[in-house]
Symmetry: C2
Subunit: 130 residues, 2 copies
């Protein structure tokens, strides 16, 4: 089940565009990434085709254009990429990654409280919904 959907940097950038807009043509994706990446339009088109083969996006035809949209959610990708990192680098222990983040990345304790609060609220709502 756990599909381990890993994306490269460009693939991820493309997915971000698709997630934000719901769907887009190759030209639109290219336009969106042009500023910071300056890639050839064909590069985007090729990557889109590869990504479709890989199964992370699909397209429908509109006239002579392909309109692509994601088949995996941002949450799924996050999850599998974080899982992979946790397995590879922290021996499967997510708490160790949290520790690392607090120690190395200077995540403020107040921020942490805030985050925890959000989680707890969410859990509460979940229980209520039972």
């Amino acid at each position: 089940m756990t599909d381990r959907t890993t994306l490269g940097d460009l693939q991820h950038a493309i997915m971000r565009v698709l997630w934000r807009r719901g769907e887009a043509t190759a030209a639109e994706v290219h336009a969106a990434l042009e500023p910071e990446r300056g890639l050839a339009p064909t590069t985007i088109a090729t990557m889109l085709r590869k990504m479709e083969t890989k199964g992370v996006i699909e397209h429908r035809v509109e006239g002579r254009q392909f309109i692509y949209r994601p088949t995996v959610s941002e949450a799924e990708v996050r999850r599998s990429m974080v899982d992979e990192l946790v397995d590879r680098v922290f021996a499967g222990d997510p708490t160790a990654l949290v520790g690392h983040l607090l120690a190395e990345h200077r995540v403020e304790p107040e921020e942490l409280d805030h985050v925890r609060q959000i989680i707890e609220d969410a859990s509460d709502r979940e229980e209520e919904a039972t």
Copy 2:
């Protein structure tokens, strides 16, 4: 400065052996990884050579054997790999990754308190040292 030292899965497994033991020959690394990976000895040897080219390990000669040892620490690798994930997947916001971990990976709040305690203690010691 920030070298962005990314390691593949096998490379990471090899590094773990080297970090644990301080140094090891190709045969020793192979022996250590044999059980769970079952790779050919030459595969390990080839990978070690590639990793040395890449600069993450180095070797000294002892008789006709090469004894490899890490040139980068586990902490450095962790840091750059986590940085990369945070940049790619969480738009550079480490707190977002913490949130994800708490929400998706069911990190227990008690665990969190524990982790935070460790961090705070460390900060205290740091201040004392001033």
